[in-house]
């Protein structure tokens, strides 16, 4: 009652005002929003329209059918292919870039992975390559990374995928190098100039929202099919994290430090070299790590446009559903991911501060350290008398280790067995563990296992498809397109207000214009369902992790491991368990998106102020009340953020799921590469995917901002 009067009339002056000496911040009543009822209303109207007008105006398009727009894109392609070489842009600029990368890449390939004519083998054989990479790992990251690198490289050879593995590594490293050359100055410029940041940040936003599948086709059109396309794709995908983290790192240098340096009279470039870069070094290395992981996953996907690397055997094996072969190649991708991740992480930890040279160093400590000249050692500090290496000393030691590396390189140029990784015919002991055997083991095991569980998994797949996926997909895809568009706009408006509604309207218009409305709605249905699943899993695990340190320490390493795996690889186990179909794509999306969402939820739950939790406990809340009334509501910003991230991850994976029978947009993109006359349609599908990604992202973001109130 009192509440009603209080809202109806202007609030009376507080009774004890003379006592309130404090100024009150502001007295603004939040507008009452009836989000729940409004959404329910939209659903009811939608269902009614669906019941009345089902299968009218759905804009469905047969698999081989095309629209004028697609044909127009085809004609553009034809034009580019015909006149491109003479055009200043396609032949000139892009052609130059393409040739340069192709030449560099071929040069590197001849150096380490393919026969360098007239030699029957590369310039440097496998032994030399292993030695060189081991040395680099040791120099930047320490002994443990070195061991990991050696084992991983040996497995490349043992599994018989040496060339593909090294090619993938080359694409990844080359792309990261390009990213570094572009991204570091860009990040620095953005940190120093706000205008720059304001211009570039939205571009990075778009690049990160676009599912990778979407820009395969245009890039392939510009650069032709092959290594250059793979590298360019990878750079586009891996650049944003590096730029963002560099900017953040430079910006995070404390203002007081900058001021102090300025008071000493440093010039702008001195400031950069002596203060900002050294202090941001560690953060920048983290950026390189993120960039490298992104690069690896994109380089794998680039196999679809004939990019070199391990993605090719995975893709080929998926086509014929050879789980074993796909697993072997997938396993190597995972190993490579772990190797790159650990090495760059170790390097970043080392770049942090006083790093003692570890690794083989330790073995030599007693012998060598004492005998080294003065300039190579210094006291360890803090009154400890042990000598420690200076920088010059470290590089001397590293230089000494270069000698056996050079010997290995020399041997690998001389001996065939050290040049080309020997198969089982040469080294008989490899027989039980080489690629063929492991493929067979995995196929046997998976056949056996699938036999045991397939009644269950297939039943699960069929039931879920029938009870959940089909009805929901039908609702979205069989509603008239105009009804569907209105529903989406209404939801965008209720959740986020005018801005996301306008953006959504533009995106929907684009999707409609691509002529793939129906397929887009199928993809949207799968994306929404998978996101729902992701959030269920993320909330259950995240609440557990956020509430209990122990649960967190048990689960978090698994999440970390899952996050290192490139999305492409998730298709393999999903395919093994569930066969082809939309359900499989959803499961792969779940596995791909759940870790990031779970972490965000867990962080949100942990971020709830301990005082509040204690206060709620002191009023006698049960655990359930604590979770539902205190922790989840207070973590809702994280929940929305997790949903946003989950949506984007799921969307990109659902699309890739086109490879395992996910159908719709993803499948159209893939068929665009394989069938000439469908190129334009594939390109259009990419555009539709991007539009959908932007739309979902914006709706979720504005909803998040609103929830944050």
């Amino acid at each position: 009652m009192a509440v009603d009067t209080a809202t109806a009339v202007p609030p009376p002056p507080p009774a004890r005002q003379q006592e309130n000496k404090e100024e009150q911040p502001y007295l603004e009543r939040g507008k009452k929003r009836h989000t729940g009822p409004l959404l329910l209303g939209i659903l009811v109207v939608w269902l009614v329209v669906f019941a009345l007008l089902k299968n009218h105006d759905t804009r469905a398009l047969g698999l081989q059918d095309t629209t004028d727009f697609h044909e127009w894109l085809n004609r553009i392609r034809d034009w580019v292919q015909l006149h491109g070489p003479d055009n200043w842009f396609f032949g000139g600029v892009l052609g130059f870039i393409g040739d340069t990368f192709n030449n560099i890449f071929t040069f590197l390939q001849k150096l380490v992975s393919i026969p360098a004519f007239p030699r029957p083998v590369p310039q440097i054989g496998w032994l030399g390559v292993v030695a060189v990479f081991a040395w680099i790992a040791w120099a930047v990251a320490g002994l443990r990374s070195t061991i990991l690198v050696v084992i991983t490289f040996l497995l490349f050879g043992v599994f018989g995928l040496w060339q593909d593995s090294i090619d993938l590594l080359l694409v990844t490293i080359l792309a990261v190098l390009v990213c570094f050359i572009i991204g570091l100055p860009l990040g620095i410029a953005m940190a120093r100039r706000t205008t720059m940041s304001n211009i570039v940040t939205p571009l990075l936003d778009i690049a990160q929202t676009m599912p990778p599948f979407a820009y395969l086709a245009p890039v392939a059109l510009g650069f032709g099919i092959g290594p250059t396309t793979a590298i360019v794709l990878t750079v586009v995908y891996a650049l944003p994290p590096l730029v963002r983290i560099t900017e953040h790192g430079i910006r995070s240098v404390p203002e007081t430090t900058i001021e102090a340096a300025r008071s000493l009279g440093l010039t702008s470039s001195q400031m950069l070299r002596r203060v900002e870069l050294p202090m941001a070094k560690r953060t920048i290395v983290v950026g390189v790590n993120q960039s490298m992981m992104a690069a690896l996953s994109m380089a794998t996907i680039a196999a679809l446009v004939n990019g070199p690397g391990l993605g090719k055997p995975v893709n080929a094996a998926l086509q014929i559903q050879n789980i074993g072969a796909a697993s072997v190649a997938g396993l190597l991708i995972v190993l490579m991911a772990i190797m790159l991740d650990r090495t760059t992480t170790a390097a970043s930890e080392r770049s942090g501060g006083v790093a003692s040279v570890s690794g083989p160093q330790v073995l030599l400590m007693g012998v060598v350290l004492e005998k080294l000249p003065r300039w190579a050692t210094e006291d360890a500090g803090r009154g400890v008398r042990h000598p420690r290496l200076t920088n010059a000393g470290k590089w001397t030691i590293r230089g000494l280790w270069l000698i056996p590396v050079l010997v290995a390189v020399y041997l690998s140029r001389q001996q065939l067995n050290f040049a080309q990784f020997p198969g089982r015919d040469v080294w008989g002991f490899l027989k039980p563990i080489d690629g063929k055997s492991v493929t067979k083991y995995i196929n046997d095991f998976s056949n056996w296992f699938i036999d045991k569980v397939d009644t269950f998994t297939l039943a699960l797949k069929n039931d879920v498809t029938k009870v959940v996926i089909n009805p929901f997909q039908n609702l979205l895809a069989e509603s008239p397109w105009w009804a569907m568009a209105l529903v989406i706009l209404a939801i965008a408006f209720v959740l986020g207000g005018w801005r996301p509604t306008v953006i959504s309207a533009v995106c929907l218009a684009i999707i409609f214009g691509t002529g793939l409305w129906n397929d887009s709605m199928v993809t949207l249905a799968m994306t929404l369902l998978a996101t729902l699943l992701v959030m269920v899993v993320a909330v259950i695990l995240g609440v557990g992790m956020g509430r209990s340190r122990r649960t967190d320490t048990i689960i978090r390493p698994f999440l970390d491991a899952f996050q290192t795996i490139p999305p492409f690889v998730y298709l393999v186990p999903a395919l093994a368990l569930f066969g082809v179909g939309r359900f499989t794509a959803i499961m792969a999306a779940l596995a791909y998106a759940a870790p990031i969402a779970t972490k965000l939820v867990a962080d949100g739950i942990r971020g709830v102020a301990p005082t509040t939790v204690e206060a709620a406990r002191s009023t006698g809340s049960t655990t359930w009340q604590m979770i539902t009334k205190v922790q989840l509501p207070m973590a809702r910003e994280s929940l929305v953020l997790a949903t946003n991230q989950g949506l984007l991850y799921v969307l990109s994976m659902v699309v890739i799921g086109g490879l395992v029978g996910g159908g719709s947009l993803g499948y159209i993109v893939v068929s665009g590469f394989s069938q000439d006359q469908l190129f334009g349609k594939g390109l259009a599908a990419g555009i539709a995917i991007t539009a959908m990604g932007v739309m979902l992202d914006r709706i979720a973001r504005y909803a998040a901002a609103r929830v944050g109130r």
Partner: protein
């Protein structure tokens, strides 16, 4: 202080003697560490905090604490940070599980309660107010105040009414539909106060509730607590690190150091007869004339004082008696009821007042 200072009756207050206390705490221990329960009762329990930590890695939070709180009393626990006072108040409702000892609330043993009984106790009998308020930012003021009622399952209209009453009681009328972050610190703590009162508990516990507030606002809030205590008459346990606050609010004060009780006593006892150097040290800055009663400054009656000299009650604060004593020519009588218990003259008063000037 002066040679004439008399030991107050009973000296150090002996806590175990109270009949029907609101809160009875006996032999309470808290040791942090994996094998905490193995330590009590052994030699190790007698080690100092530092030694125990060095030897076993365990940290003593609370060491063998016993006290009683009378119904309707404001009982202040005071100590510097790290003295264990915040741990102590959490042990009382088992927000932290005690290692040993008993806590009884109106004869009901809190230690040893099963989970559901403990929840019930927290829901109905004990309420807490926290230093950083612990409000729920996503709920309006009125829903924050009603949170405890919601948790124990009361209907919406009922808890709204009760919450509104409490909002009015703490002077927040008109702000009930605001969100906590729209209010200043002092107002937020009023919400915390209202939330604690809403459950109509038997005992209120305050964990340094005003430490985060500006000095002026803190004074307002202290007055607010005094007013509420007069209005609702709840038993209160009040934790603070501010001696002035302790002296102002406390009927009795418990002083802690390193998890142990140093002294329990009324404000004038603590200032007039500090138990040791530690207490003396941080009561030394207190304006004594504002705390000490005549009983602490009077001399024994040797019969020299005429019967027509003004009679002052022995528990009157020196500052309040000063004008009368200084205006009167010659010593005044100090009485306990009808009985003359001592005399006090200008010099006795001035000694206390001047001693402060010297600081």
């Amino acid at each position: 202080m002066t040679t004439t200072a008399i030991t107050p009756e009973g000296g150090q207050a002996s806590p175990a003697s109270m009949e029907n206390p609101a809160l009875h705490v006996d032999g309470l221990w808290k040791i942090f560490g994996p094998r905490a329960d193995k330590i009590i009762g052994t030699e190790q329990a007698n080690l100092s905090r530092k030694e125990l930590q060095e030897k076993t890695g365990h940290v003593v939070g609370i060491r063998d604490v016993s006290f009683d709180v009378a119904p309707g009393e404001v009982f202040v626990v005071m100590g510097l940070s790290g003295s264990g006072k915040s741990t102590l108040v959490r042990l009382l409702t088992r927000l932290i599980e005690p290692t040993a000892g008993t806590v009884e609330l109106y004869g009901e043993k809190i230690t040893g309660m099963d989970d559901s009984a403990l929840l019930e106790t927290r829901r109905r009998k004990v309420s807490m107010v926290f230093q950083h308020f612990g409000l729920l930012p996503h709920r309006k003021v009125v829903d924050n105040v009603g949170f405890g009622l919601e948790v124990r399952g009361e209907g919406k209209s009922q808890r709204r009414n009760r919450a509104q009453e409490m909002v009015d009681l703490v002077g927040l009328s008109g702000y009930e539909n605001n969100f906590p972050d729209q209010l200043s610190g002092g107002m937020q703590q009023r919400v915390g106060l209202a939330r604690a009162l809403a459950a109509d508990p038997e005992i209120l516990m305050f964990d340094e509730p005003f430490s985060a507030l500006d000095p002026l606002i803190r004074r307002d809030m202290q007055n607010e607590v005094i007013r509420l205590h007069e209005e609702v008459g709840k038993t209160m346990v009040f934790i603070t690190h501010d001696l002035a606050e302790a002296l102002k609010l406390g009927d009795r004060i418990l002083i802690m150091r390193d998890g142990e009780i140093v002294q329990i006593g009324t404000p004038d006892e603590v200032v007039g007869a500090p138990a040791d150097e530690y207490v003396r040290d941080f009561t030394s800055e207190v304006p004594k004339s504002h705390v000490l009663t005549l009983k602490w400054v009077m001399r024994p009656d040797t019969g020299e004082v005429p019967a027509d000299a003004p009679a002052l009650p022995h528990d009157q604060i020196v500052r309040d008696a000063a004008r009368i004593v200084l205006d009167h020519d010659g010593p005044c009588r100090v009485v306990d009821g009808d009985k003359v218990v001592g005399v006090v003259d200008d010099e006795d008063i001035l000694r206390v007042v001047v001693a402060e000037e010297a600081h």
